[in-house]
């Protein structure tokens, strides 16, 4: 019954069955969470319900602003994130869910029609996570707030993970190759790297960053965290692509044509040998860090760091949930301009599932980060009248 499998039949990078099983479990968990959200909705205050209705309309109406400005953004979760921030994760989840359902009921010009309903779990997850992050204070960290230590620890953990990646590449050799053995090795190495990052972050939170809230240099720390994270992201991406035994070093792809004479696309030339590759990556990372510092020092920009952590992680989760839906229901395609990206990933050898997952991981974190930023800016302008209506309004930042 191949019709049930998420992965494409005959793909060159075969899916790992446990991954598939994990997704089905994830879907079950999500369904459960939504039932919980539905139950909890009985206790929602009238103000929360009014807010939800307004937020859903905002989600749908903002599409016309981005179309007007011809910006390649979605911003269809602004309302959902707002509800998560003001009324909590369960209200946020329900807002996301109902949003996609309402979207299906209305003929929106330029919209995908009733099939939008299939992505309701993604929108629900966004609302849930936004509520979680809001309770961690991303929208309103003030001096004296101890939780900032958590975000600094995350930056440190991320940097540690990238260092671990570097070590792994030098020793084990990390890169997604065609055979399933090395696929498993890639997955395991990845998990170890993530674990190292998490442990370092946890330790950092317990020790170095435990009492940082009162520190008057909080702003400097945030600037530092922004710079380190930006540099780490850039460094990791470069190493994942260009290092020996990384992506491009094994990338030879065969495209058939009708003469039976295969055309081979050889990307191996793009890989840079160490130590040159390492130096290049470091230089670029340092340059990015310098730019980040210059930017973060201006005005209130340092406060954006937690917001971006929240946005990026939400985007990653959204992509993870959306990929199986797109692969299973929509043939691995999104129906928008991002399909060009999907096609690109297909030519790089990724299967139906892999290509749409890669596309999601590329564009969703960015989109959600921008959404969170917009919500953050709007919340700074929130009048007291609104803030006092919602129990969590006090969590939002005082301008």
């Amino acid at each position: 019954m191949d019709w049930l499998t998420i992965c494409a039949d005959g793909a060159t990078t075969p899916c790992v069955a446990p991954v598939q099983a994990a997704y089905l479990v994830g879907v079950g968990v999500l369904a459960l969470l939504l039932v919980v959200a539905g139950r909890r909705s009985r206790d929602f205050a009238t103000a929360t319900l009014s807010l939800m209705a307004v937020a859903i309309a905002i989600n749908i109406a903002l599409g016309s602003v981005t179309a007007l400005l011809r910006l390649p953004l979605y911003l269809d979760s602004v309302g959902t994130v707002l509800v998560g921030a003001l009324a909590g994760p369960w209200a946020g989840a329900l807002t996301g869910l109902l949003s996609d359902l309402v979207w299906s009921l209305l003929p929106i010009p330029g919209g995908a029609g009733p099939t939008t309903a299939f992505f309701a779990p993604v929108a629900a997850a966004v609302g849930l996570i936004a509520g979680f992050w809001a309770s961690r204070g991303v929208f309103g960290l003030r001096s004296g707030d101890d939780r900032i230590g958590g975000f600094l620890a995350l930056a440190l953990g991320f940097a540690a993970a990238v260092v671990a990646l570097l070590v792994a590449q030098a020793t084990v050799g990390v890169g997604p190759a065609a055979d399933s053995d090395s696929q498993v090795r890639f997955a395991v190495t990845g998990l170890v790297i993530v674990a190292i990052g998490v442990v370092v972050a946890w330790l950092g939170r317990r020790t170095i960053f435990a009492r940082v809230g009162d520190d008057p240099r909080m702003r400097l720390y945030l600037i530092g965290a922004t710079a380190i994270s930006a540099a780490a992201v850039v460094f990791a991406v470069i190493r994942l692509l260009f290092a020996p035994s990384a992506y491009f070093s094994t990338a030879t792809f065969v495209l058939a044509n009708d003469a039976g004479d295969p055309t081979i696309i050889d990307l191996r030339g793009l890989a840079l040998p160490d130590p040159l590759g390492l130096v290049v990556a470091l230089v670029v990372a340092v340059a990015v860090a310098a730019l980040a510092v210059a930017w973060a020092r201006r005005g209130e920009h340092a406060r954006f760091f937690p917001v971006w952590v929240a946005g990026a992680t939400t985007g990653v989760v959204a992509a993870l949930i959306a990929a199986p839906i797109a692969a299973g229901v929509f043939g691995g395609v999104t129906g928008g301009g991002t399909d060009l990206l999907v096609a690109l990933f297909r030519t790089l050898g990724l299967g139906v599932f892999g290509s749409v997952l890669a596309q999601g991981l590329t564009s969703d974190p960015l989109d959600k980060t921008i959404t969170f930023t917009v919500v953050f800016v709007i919340l700074t302008a929130l009048p007291i009248t609104v803030r006092t209506m919602f129990s969590r309004g006090a969590l939002t930042v005082d301008a």
């Binding site: 009238t46 302008a381 929130l382 009048p383 007291i384 009248t385 609104v386 006092t388 301008a399």
Partner: protein, 468 residues
Amino acid sequence: MRPALRIDGLTVRYPARREPALADLSLAIEPGERVGIAGRTSAGKSTLALAAAGLIPRVVRAAVTGTVVVGKTDALHATADALLGRVGIVFASPADQLSGSKPTVREELAFGLENLGVPRAEMDPRIDAVLADLGIAGLADREPASLSGGEQQRVAIASIVTMGPGLLVLDEPTAELDPEGTDAVATLLDGLSAAGTTILCVEHDRAILERCGRNVTLDGGRIVEGTPARPAIGPLAWAAGRGRMGATVTLDRLGFRYPNGIEALRDVSLEVRAGERVAIVGANGSGKTTLAKHLIGLLRPTSGRVLVDGVPTDDRTVQALAQTVGFAFQDPGDQLFERSVEREVGFGPRRLGRTGADVANLIDAALTMTGLPGERATNPYDLDRSVRKLVTLAGVLAMDPALLVLDEPTTGQDPEGVERVGRIVEAMAAAGRTVIAITHDPAFADRWFDRTVVMAAGRTVDRPRPGA
């Protein structure tokens, strides 16, 4: 007989506000009475209305001392259920009163009955009775979202009345309505009063207050006798942008037809000299707003020409015209987005390319003219609706326009607010600027403007000042 509403020593203090909204207020209203509550903005009128309706402190958080008794029920400590069907409240924004979830007016009226748990069989008779009594039977199958403001407000009142309350509280019900809608609401209230409903009505509109049996004036959270004397707003002066000349406006056989075929303007010709003050009046649909939108380039003529300072608007973008024309829109909610009045007012001048000290001067001058220097750091949405309108007006003034166009600047303003807008018009004209205002208030037009242009069905009828 037991009073319908009895308030004793009521003090209400909102969180994070220094002054109490109401201070030791006592009031008794007999059944069937119709009492009007007047007073300037922020005198505490809305708070009084909310307390009488049992929404404070249950829904609106505030520290409360004193008692409010509706009939036999203690409104301050009652649960929602205890007060339903005894007291109802209607607010100022028509569209926000309605549930927004029902497809017809009839079902909208049923909304309250559904929440009350009234058996289905009883619903239709009650709804039919209210539709007939309030004279809105013709609207029964209409879609609530498609109704005019006045119609929506009447439906809102009807949907409360359907729940059968003996006491009806209204908080500025005509603030957002045109004269037609205001009349309709006033007539409806007459009918309700005649049928024995006790009415407590907070209002600015004199027409409504005159029809009340008794009027109570609030000032600073207390009941006062007569109208409190306020220092009059003397003549103002526009302190920034000296030496700029007012723009001339020429409408040369202007015609405009909407894409759906409606001809909103027919062959309108008008000359406005620099520094002149012109008021444009007319009924709904006469084309006044359509005409005004041509002045800022939001609409382009389908025939004829519009010239500002001799240059046709056709050739210029809205943003370019904004350098010359300051357009104050009717709904402040269409513009406000900054976290403080100061930043909001500074938005316009910065978009026009002004910088630094220049912008600061303009902001200062605009805030002084609108009487808002004390509110520089306040979030505009924390201010009363009528004050928000002054904030957007300040934002327009700060752009130092050669031509100032005002779209219904006095709706929702208390008498002091209307006076201030008039003084602003006078000051801008004294500074040499041209002012054109759309208004449905003939007294305002006559007092503050050199000339009144009357519009009907897309054409103009010139009407000189009486006595000129």
